[in-house]
């Protein structure tokens, strides 16, 4: 059933006068058809049916002036109303409508959702006539601005001048001659008006694109926001304020159309913010949605492959790096700024010397499902950059000294961050070392860089008690984590390799030879 209520046609409109009923009670109407003309602020507008049905009741007769929100009549199936429209008599109508005005006018406040809906009706569906409607009046932005400045509605200018293309001069003329719309004069005689449906009784509310986007997402009408904010230029902040503070009882029906519980939102006992809170519970608001591209796209594909196809298994060793750090400090002093010593270089050195004995770890699984063992040991080092994770390659890592590796690690790391690496620097790796320790990870399980078969992670160096010669003493420890593809690498191989790397790092002098 559709309740025909007097819509709020503009910010200053408080009441309106029914000019003419276009449909008799009991007469069928179809959706889009004009049903009643009303007049306010010198403008005549129409209310159209939003559904097929029968005009069940006229609650307000032509000539009567009533407040905004008053129910003017109802449209529905014949069985909807208590009145039998087919056999209605004049006396019955008179009685029914008399009651209707008295009671429904008092309910205006609680009936706002309906009134907003009706308010949208005339503008949107008014142009569905058979012959092409020449459309609303036209006005350049400068004319519209002038009208706003003078507080003159463009519709009024159109009505008074009879022109479709409105000029600044016409606005000036009407502004000079017209009374301010807020004055309480007698309602003008309907005969003096140009009775032509005026398409936009809501006035020109402007909304920024982002405000419109937000309003659509929240399912609130821009006009309602404009009214609540007291502006005719709606910004995003007006929409969010409206939703957070004002939306409670005035949310548009369309937002909750699927739920029959509109009424319950305004039942005694439910607070005004109920509807907004309800929405938060059901729909998380989306802050942002972005395509997965670039370095993140590569990560997406590769980690998907690893998760779907690899039998990734991780083994962990705790390494006493007290002596390694002492050696590191000695070398830092000795080598000076020319070659910044790198702990990663020691790890790569230990890996390079150990890998040849554990060949399934320096390998890849080919697309033909063969295991390709590499002779060269090219160790990739994972570097975090602004553009995502890069893994530049140290070629022939097993043939390089700690000093040479330090220099190479420095070159690749700064090249990765500055984006100056060559193409060759970023491919041909056969094994990867990943350092999550610099970010503070106590134990981190790295993921294999496909199509390789293993990756070694180095974790944070921490002060912990250790036992030396039966005494508990402070020592420095670091965890090494080896993730390997258990489809092609035996557990014993992985653990054996990790233990060998551990013992080399715990006797760091041996790595210098």
């Amino acid at each position: 059933m559709q309740r025909l209520t007097l819509p709020k046609g503009g910010k200053t409109m408080e009441e309106g006068t029914v000019v003419e009923w276009l449909v008799a009670e009991g007469e069928p109407v179809s959706a889009g058809e004009p049903v009643v003309l009303f007049e306010s602020e010198k403008m005549t507008s129409e209310i159209t049916a939003s559904e097929d049905g029968v005009l069940l009741e006229r609650a307000v007769e032509a000539g009567e002036t009533v407040p905004v929100g008053t129910e003017l009549g109802r449209i529905g199936e014949e069985s909807d109303g208590s009145t039998d429209a087919g056999t209605v008599s004049g006396e019955d109508v008179g009685t029914a409508s008399g009651e209707g005005v008295g009671t429904r006018a008092g309910e205006t406040g609680s009936d706002r959702p309906e009134s907003v809906d009706a308010g949208r009706g005339p503008g949107r569906s008014g142009s569905t006539g058979v012959e092409p409607d020449p459309g609303p009046f036209r006005a350049a932005p400068s004319t519209r601005r002038l009208a706003r400045e003078h507080g003159v509605s463009l519709s009024a200018v159109a009505a008074e001048t009879g022109a479709r293309r409105l000029t600044p001069a016409a606005v000036e003329a009407v502004a000079a001659g017209s009374n301010p719309p807020t004055e309480d004069g007698p309602a003008p005689d309907a005969d003096e008006l140009v009775v032509e449906p005026v398409p936009n009784p809501e006035g020109d509310v402007l909304g920024s694109p982002w405000a419109r986007t937000l309003a659509a997402n929240y399912g609130v009408s821009l006009e309602a926001v404009a009214d609540a904010a007291g502006t005719d230029r709606v910004r995003a902040a007006d929409v969010t304020n409206y939703v957070e503070r004002d939306a409670g009882g005035t949310t548009e029906p369309s937002a909750t159309a699927a739920e029959p519980a509109v009424e319950s939102a305004v039942e005694p006992g439910s607070d005004a913010g109920g509807a907004a809170i309800e929405r938060d519970r059901t729909e998380p608001r989306v802050a942002r949605e972005a395509p997965i591209t670039g370095a993140r796209g590569v990560m997406f594909e590769r980690m998907g492959t690893v998760a779907g196809e690899y039998a990734s298994t991780t083994t962990v060793a705790r390494v006493d790096v007290t002596e390694l750090l002492a050696l590191y400090n000695r070398l830092s002093t000795a080598w000076g700024e020319d070659v910044p010593v790198s702990l990663t270089a020691f790890v790569v050195r230990a890996v390079g010397r150990s890998l040849p004995d554990y060949e399934t770890l320096n390998a890849e699984v080919t697309e033909a499902k063969t295991l390709r063992i590499y002779e060269d040991v090219n160790v990739g080092i994972a570097v975090d950059t602004d553009d995502g994770l890069l893994v530049p390659t140290i070629y022939d890592a097993n043939d390089r000294t700690v000093r040479g590796l330090s220099r190479e690690v420095g070159r690749l790391a700064s090249g990765a961050r500055e984006g100056t690496l060559e193409h060759d620097d970023l491919q041909n790796g056969t094994f990867t070392v990943s350092n999550a320790g610099s970010l503070g990870a106590y134990i981190n399980t790295p993921q294999i860089n496909p199509p390789q078969t293993a990756v070694l992670g180095t974790c944070a160096i921490v002060d912990e008690p250790g036992i030396v010669d039966g005494e508990v003493v402070p020592r420095k420890f670091m965890h090494l984590t080896l993730t390997y593809d258990h489809r092609v690498v035996e557990g014993a191989t992985a653990v054996g390799f990790l233990q060998e790397v551990k013992s080399r790092l715990e006797a760091p002098e041996s790595l210098l030879s």
């Binding site: 920024s208 694109p209 982002w210 986007t213 910004r235 995003a236 902040a237 942002r288 500055e418 100056t420």
Partner: protein, 325 residues
């Protein structure tokens, strides 16, 4: 790190590239013996000799033609055009030859030349020596346009421009040769075609070009005292433009102000505004604001020139407009 002026950082970049690559050489009007009108190339001829750093007659046409020819033979000429205004004379060589040859021959031909020049008003040099010529070339595919803002970027981008295989017009703001800033010791480059977020903020995105980055940052500092949080993006390379960071920023702040020194009409700001309108219109909460010069030649008189140049107050007013204040 050391504290260098823009002039020193450009001089270092040139010296390092001359040192690094024997194909690099440098010439132009008064660049050698005199050391350049703004002393940017001071000392380079002494250090690298007359074969690598030399003066030329007053003929920009010759400078352009010889640079294109030299680049085609495999060298990497760096040419100085004394004022950006004179790019109009050398434009034929740049737009019709340097920019086109890679596309014309389809055989991998490249024209790796760099044209260094200065631009901008503020020195009372009048209408023939104060223009900002970015818009003259922004519509020419094949030329890269670089306009840095900090000593760090000037050095790193000039080195990258010299190593780049395409023709690059490298624009130096003549008012800011004395601007100081931190520059890393040793060789580094700043990649071309990557914009840089010079200040992070939540409320309004300001995209500023070249010398206007300083102005935008100063405006942002003043606005911050009122709780207005401005994000400043410096494209650094104007063409080809690194657009995504700008879109991302607008999607965050919903407001855009574009600032450059040239006239707003037909200027680069219009191009950024159009790109944002295409990609992020429905994220905008306010009309885009452009800050630039009026559509008139740069005035001679000091007071008029001051009024002509966009300043902090202009940026602040534009930011306020986007906030609906």
């Amino acid at each position: 790190m050391s504290e260098l002026t823009v002039r020193e950082s450009i001089n270092q970049a040139l010296a390092e590239e001359l040192e690094r690559d024997e194909r690099v050489f440098l010439y132009g009007e008064d660049v050698a013996d005199y050391g350049g009108l703004y002393q940017v190339t001071a000392g380079l001829q002494e250090r690298f000799g007359e074969e690598r750093v030399f003066d030329t007659p007053l003929s920009e046409t010759t400078l352009g033609g010889t640079a294109v020819g030299a680049a085609l033979t495999g060298t990497r000429p760096v040419v100085e055009i004394m004022f950006g205004d004179f790019l109009a004379i050398v434009a034929d060589h740049l737009t019709n030859y340097a920019a086109k040859m890679h596309f014309n021959y389809g055989d991998g031909t490249s024209v790796p030349l760099v044209v260094r020049t200065n631009y901008g008003a503020g020195d009372q040099f009048g209408l023939h020596h104060s223009q900002s010529p970015i818009a003259w070339f922004q519509n020419v595919p094949g030329i890269k346009l670089v306009a840095p803002s900090t000593p760090h970027d000037y050095k790193g981008l000039l080195k990258a421009a010299i190593r780049d295989d395409d023709p690059v017009i490298f624009l130096e703001n003549k008012l800011r040769y004395e601007t100081e800033g931190e520059v890393p010791n040793g060789g580094y480059t700043v990649p071309l075609c990557r914009s840089d977020r010079k200040r992070e903020g939540e409320d309004v995105t300001v995209v500023a070009i070249g010398g206007m980055v300083d102005v935008a940052l100063a405006a942002a500092d003043r606005l911050a005292t009122e709780g207005i949080d401005v994000e400043v993006i410096d494209p650094r390379t104007v063409v080809p433009l690194d657009k995504e960071p700008i879109f991302d920023s607008v999607r965050k702040t919903h407001r855009l102000v574009v600032v450059h020194e040239a006239a707003t009409f037909g200027g680069f700001g219009g191009e950024i505004a159009a790109e944002v309108a295409e990609e992020a219109l429905f994220h905008l909460d306010a009309p885009i604001e452009r800050v630039g010069a009026p559509f008139t030649p740069v005035p001679f008189a000091e007071n008029l020139e001051e009024a002509y140049l966009p300043d902090e107050d202009d940026v602040i007013a534009a930011v306020r407009n986007t906030l609906g204040e």
